[in-house]
Subunit: 392 residues, 4 copies
């Protein structure tokens, strides 16, 4: 029998003024599958309490630290305590928080990049297996219905054999030293201690994940020109690389936070022997298919002729655009329905298993470390092949 209640969740991070915490809360709320009942929203207990009140939580479910929260929640009765935690802290805390909650028996939805070291990522892989936890990493861009359609076109052979992958992620918001002007987001995201990597971690990892999700291909080797364009910044803000994928396909991946005027322009192009595909995050409701022997096709969401997985991740009819939050919510909804099935003792619907895993997180960390290593060797070619531990 399916679980007949909303999932209860708590949040770590996402205090006043945070960006991604509010996105997670909206994504979690959109489909009516969850209710937020607990939180450790800030390392400052006062700020945590303030945020708890703003969210209308019970005061006694708002905690001063994530450790306290994990213990207190674990001690609550089954029908009260949270089912999962959403981790939306700066990157350097992801590992400790995730580890703690997994060890206390909770499922986890965690923002990316998963950790700040590959070692931590691999530890998490093992912990997830040991504790049989559901772990979802919010590489939210793979939640778009037309990204799923793109993957379907690779899987069903529409593209033929893949020959070339071009994935890029230009942003411009860090073209000047915003981090010295009181911008909270810029502050921690350009601090090696709290962020781990810069552009590579924040957006390069999305680019890697998106390309791999759609094509199913891992990297074999890469050569990365990683660097800091804005003088005085202690972290990478621009990275450009050549890639060879495991099937021999050639690739280009570039990401940047100093490309003035670019907002959030993640784009993936994949060329096979039969067709090419083109998807762009800023116009996410279109997928362009290109052929040598016929007109271009422009797919939009919600149409009957799309793949089952694309339609599974769509709420409203064609022409009523779904966008960033809806895609994020797809990642949440799939993970939540998987948890609900597990809690109810049922097999998850295979369509619901379509969310980024802890192994995806490890692959992402390996990618970041590999690219940084190449960069440090003057953009030398380095081995990029990797298989994460655990998983099915």
């Amino acid at each position: 029998m399916p679980l007949n209640r909303k999932l209860r969740y708590g949040m770590v991070g996402g205090g006043p003024g945070a960006f991604i915490g509010a996105v997670h809360r909206r994504a979690a709320a959109l489909d009516g599958l969850t209710e937020l009942v607990a939180g450790a929203f800030s390392s400052d207990p006062d700020k945590s309490a303030e945020q708890g009140r703003a969210l209308h939580l019970d005061d006694d479910r708002v905690y001063g630290s994530y450790q306290e929260m994990a213990e207190a929640e674990a001690a609550l009765p089954d029908d009260e305590r949270i089912d999962f935690v959403s981790i939306v802290t700066p990157n350097f805390l992801h590992f400790d928080v995730a580890k703690t909650f997994i060890e206390h028996g909770f499922h986890v939805i965690c923002d990316k990049p998963m950790t700040t070291t590959l070692e931590d990522a691999e530890t998490l892989c093992r912990l997830v297996d040991e504790h049989d936890a559901v772990f979802c990493l919010t590489h939210n861009y793979t939640g778009y219905p037309l990204v799923k359609q793109a993957r379907s076109f690779v899987e069903d052979g529409t593209l033929g054999e893949i020959r070339k992958i071009v994935v890029e992620y230009p942003q411009g918001w860090l073209a000047s030293r915003l981090e010295e002007q009181g911008n909270k987001q810029a502050d921690w995201r350009t601090d090696p201690e709290r962020a781990g990597a810069g552009a590579l971690g924040d957006i390069g990892s999305h680019a890697e994940n998106l390309a791999r999700y759609v094509t199913g291909l891992g990297m074999e080797r890469l050569c990365a020109d990683v660097g800091t364009v804005v003088e005085g910044r202690p972290i990478d803000d621009d990275a450009n690389m050549l890639v060879r994928y495991e099937n021999g396909a050639r690739g280009i991946l570039h990401c940047s936070q100093i490309s003035v005027g670019e907002e959030n322009n993640l784009r993936l192009r994949v060329y096979g022997t039969k067709a090419g595909l083109d998807w762009r995050q800023e116009d996410p409701h279109y997928l362009v298919m290109k052929y040598n022997d016929g007109p271009r096709e422009v797919y939009t969401h919600g149409n009957d002729y799309l793949s089952e997985t694309a339609l599974h991740n769509t709420r409203i009819p064609p022409g009523h655009p779904e966008a960033f939050i809806e895609a994020f919510a797809n990642t949440y909804a799939n993970a939540c329905r998987t948890m609900a099935a597990r809690i109810a003792g049922e097999e998850p619907d295979p369509l619901d298993l379509d969310f980024p895993s802890v192994q995806d997180g490890a692959v992402g960390m390996h990618f970041i470390e590999t690219a940084l290593a190449s960069g440090e060797q003057n953009a030398a070619w380095v081995d990029a092949s990797y298989t994460p531990p655990g998983g099915k």
Copy 2:
């Protein structure tokens, strides 16, 4: 002191398989301002109960009829009963349901078109005044941040004096008789008894509302070629009209449900003496400004340089597109914050008062009736000027 809780609401309509009910629920949920606690989801009590369970409502807050719901909720203690009702039934029920809930002391969020007759619409205007209710009509397309920016550009004089308005709303989904193939949406929307008007009511009223919202201009006269293109259909599915606005501006308004291949292509262009603007619902995150003496400008949401009202209706940073549900949620959020202020005995923030009113609904009904009347007179020019009763 601001209201420190979520608003409680109930829903009338929105049973299993309904489209717009689910949209309202998502819009209501997105910002964490409301919780759904009651419902009369269907005129069939079993279906209503089924939907209530799917939404994890208490069984005793799920009702077999809206009358029962209004009475039962009104009898509940202050800290339990709903604050407002969302009306998402087929059009012909809007009036009775809204009247009933207003008379029982509730605020109302109602789908459009507001009623099926102008007379009913005017009655609602008076009832809202008498009962001091907050009434919000979900002309959701005015909820888009870049529509609000468009209005700002009219208000701040960027466009100069308005000379021409072109608003169009082509859809293609009713190009064949879907209503005879078991399509539930097509079924009631093409039934004059349940829908009132066809294309004019369903989408033409949105076009009228959008143009008026952005420009502030009412119509003075119009000439409408309204008709049925698909043979055997008892309701209008295509309407094209010439318009003169109250300031003398010329206009074209056309809407269609038989324009094959069009999804939901609402578009507004306004030309003033100084600039022209162009906004399109299928790419709602762009507003194009055109000038004779400088390059086109493309505005995207979330940027600092946008108007206060545009930013008030935006959640996430530039390049992270917000779309249909977010715009719908803006309408909800503004109405809900207005209700919350009123419940808390405070003045609403003027920025929150920006949602379509019961008067907008009456203007819309007058527009529909006027266009139909012109159509029946072989598209003769008719007087279109109108001032709704009540309001501030």
Copy 3:
């Protein structure tokens, strides 16, 4: 045996500073089919001579008036005199010049609108028949390969039965009284004496022609709101109309010269029972096909899978965009190849007969007069059906 030489032509109008004369010369030159050998470029003999020198013509083939030119050229030996004349004067002269050259035995390529009265247009129809002249009217927008493809999609049934036609032609350049600021183009184009009609003649006639060329449908009745938006201007600068076509299809046609920021935004949308098409002059290398049951298709020029007539009017491979002058040159090339065949005593290739005829010009004049008449009757519905005299 095909004609083994370039065609010789003369030009009337197109003096220093003229816009359309230079376009005609480029269109004529592009494919190496013609050489310009004579001209009466201005009613001012000195300016005519100046232009002749700038174009490196023989002085004795540059004339002070078109009458002189017609007579002198007719008196030249067969292997010297011009084969055809290009008429690029202000509109009010088209008729007299065309009549004169036809009567002197020359073929004619004439700018549009063809005349300033329907009566003159019908006279030309009869003259062309009597003198067995080749007459080409430069409704150049039908020269685009993807407009021809659009027509092919109507002809081959891809669209099904046509139900709705939306054609629009907004420009903004006359949003202020440029004609009082020394703008030569604005000067004559807003003078009723020299231009005949304003927006309707200059661009509305293109819109009418484009819709008819693609759909093959004539108008049955129309209701036109024609007027002058810019105060003090003695001619129409904005016209909006509802149309019924001869097969019952509904239509909207609007054109404007006061739509600030619009450059030359002619656009045609046609909706049939099976598909819709969308073409826009400012991006003329795309044709969008829309369907209810499949993805949109975007056609680009030069691809093998296009229709024979589209490919006949294309010079270079896909991705190498052809644009305004190339389309204009297609009209020239087809007319010139037709003339060359006629001069050589051969049957023209049917693909070459695809250029606007004198009858198209008469239909255009009837359209302009009908729309003006409707406008003068307060935009009343008027009969718009018409069959021009003569032709095949």
Copy 4:
């Protein structure tokens, strides 16, 4: 006194069925500045004669070889012989033909890449200087008015200091072995003997030239993954590289002939400290400027507010798109006006000197050789700095 006649030119190459020869003839014809009077259109004298007749040339000016043509034309009187030669042969002949005509005292317009070796390119640089010839290399993409506007925005400081350059040129037409299916273009362009390099020479050189033209920046080093994707092809068909420019800017350049469905999608993005620019050859009439602190701007051609050099290279008003042939013709027109001034003994207008030079050709050859060398060393970083001999 300016030269009061058209320039006379001859063509080497461009026989029946050739693509680029016909483009050159159209570009040369468009503005009425030249007349084609001679040719050696094919190495097969019969085909050369056939083409001469098709172009209505005098039989005695149609030659069986370029050597014969150079000698015969040089022997003609001043007022008969050609002023310049257009070289449109396969690449391997460019050098010999150019050398021959320069040595016989003619000016040269030559297709790209200029030669097949850097050594030959440098020889040409010296010959051009020695003979005081006008030499124009048809890197036609820099002829677009909005590319010139882009360069103006770099020059006038709108972009600030340049930090990143992304230039790409995907095509898909060689995704299969067309060269084995009788495709004449594919045949020679994939033959190392006749083409020199493959994708790098054919399109990579355009990408290099475009980026350098707009930014003024030479490369300092690069790392190129150059290869053959289509099995059995003896030449490169895909090349991807990381670049560092002489000012330290980072760059990505990629070109491909196997990117299925891409037509001719050359695109340049340049990011400076103040703004970013984006131009794409398939929609060449737009230039997008992006800023962090204001809306995007979209520039279109022909508007008064564009730079002098952009307007110098534009023929018709805004909204009347100019495209590939017009851009090509700009290159021709500037070179021809420069020759005409030189022939007339006058100083060329500085605006006319804006065409690619023999030094540009040498830089291009150095780029090709450098990229190939990097590719052969497994995409190692190599020095890419270079200064061509000669020039001003």
